[in-house]
Amino acid sequence: MFEWLDHTVYSNVTWFDLIVAVLIYFAALLASKILTLQLRRRFKDKINKENLELLAKALSYGIMIIAIVWILPTIGIEPSGLIVAGGIVALAIGFAGQSIIGNLISGIFLMGERPIKIGDLVEISGNLGFVEDIHIISTSIRTLEGNFIRIPNETVFSSSITNYTSTPVRRFEYVVGIRYADDAVKAIQVIKDIINAHPLALVNPAPHVYVENLGDNSVDIMVRIWSPSTEWFGVKMELLWKIKTAIEEAGIEIPFPQRVVWFGAEEENNGRAVSP
């Protein structure tokens, strides 16, 4: 009944070989559809749409190329010659596009690891700014001055990245110096009242205000405040001036560095012994 399957169609290729080739092709097509669908589902929230489509296409083409290389001997075409030729071309392209490939692979790893995302405030190899876009080859950031910087993904991947907005809250601190003659307890209370009145100085983690150092010219009060990461800079600027104004209004002064110099003649006039 199935003897016709052994009939030769051309050279040594039978009907059976042709049917196997067609089945492999359609199985590969089905596998590529399923895998790209899974890829899109799993990485929908992790990789941006453009890059995800690029990866899906690369996966789909990769599966189809493997399937075709598998099919070719079945239908009587020897791929070894093609592979050698393809290998040489690939080698040439590899040398020529070494950095592009490096950036591409780094881009894929970055998308998987996700140390940064669009809109984050980051510092990458000395460049501070907001992430505008993450492409497969490069990442673009907008500096705080408004300049646009394109950084190759290889640089992003291999350098240390500081992400200032990856956590929901951020801490900032000031050192407020007051005179030795002033009441530090009162100064701490004034500062605490100012912090409590500010909506974006968080209740938890709690702010800390304490005497940290007895300096040469001042009693140093450490002020540590947490605020939402997206707002910290504005809060920091606003609170610093409010604290300065409030402690001055409370009669507490922020001293200037000063040094008292006694001259020998003055000492004698004052009837004091001059110590060496």
């Binding site: 929901p168 009145a197 974006l200 209740v203 938890n204 939402p228």
Partner: protein
Amino acid sequence: MAKEKGGAVGASRHISWSYREGKKTEGVPWGPHNLPLSLDLAGVSIVVEKNEHGFLYRRNSSGGSVEKAIMGDKGSFYFNPVEPLHVPAGISTQLLVEFDRPVVVEPRASKEILVTFPLELACVIDRRRAGKHVLDIFSFCRSKFTLYGNVRNGLVCKYWKSAVYASRPPVNPLEKGILKIEIQNSLGRWSEVHRVVLSAFGMKIYYGPDLVSLNAAIKINSDLNAETNFTDRPLQSGMLKALEQFSSKLLSQQGRTVMEEGY
């Protein structure tokens, strides 16, 4: 006490309202009000006056002033309590209410408590076919924020500390609302509740002349895990449903908050 002056159609009306704790007050003038009008609400002055373009909206308070030009010749004006997560805008969509003393609930029991929550008030212009538009949102309460959970991946929430009541306390209905919380302890041991985190999405606020209310529930699942959601029901009959400014298309997100870092 509410006083209305004038009353002729088209003429500006003046309404004054104040609150004194412990005294029975007349209901909050929520509206609708015909335009133009002027309102004095416990120190906040709201004026909508006619001009050559249409109307001019002005709100003055000790905290600052807001002005908006309204390009339209008709409409009515009213107040509406909204989800208390607009002032300041864009910081958080979660409200954390901390109890002034922990509430201990017996095993496998469901108990109800009353606490207060901060109110934010929306000034709304409404026209039958054009629909409603929020002109301004303000609050008599001081805003404060906190972090729920850890520094790595916690939630920034609006913070409110409240006493726990067994019966309805007297509150200024422009400043605070009454939040009824049903605590469902599904554990076989005593549970201590210190706080609830509520989502702005799906908050069902109701208002009446002297009361603004919200109904919520917290289900305790384990020592660190609880889940909060809302019940779409007023605290007393005759209350109206407030305008919802936060709405989610996903039903699964409607009002549900999972508290994974303790309660």
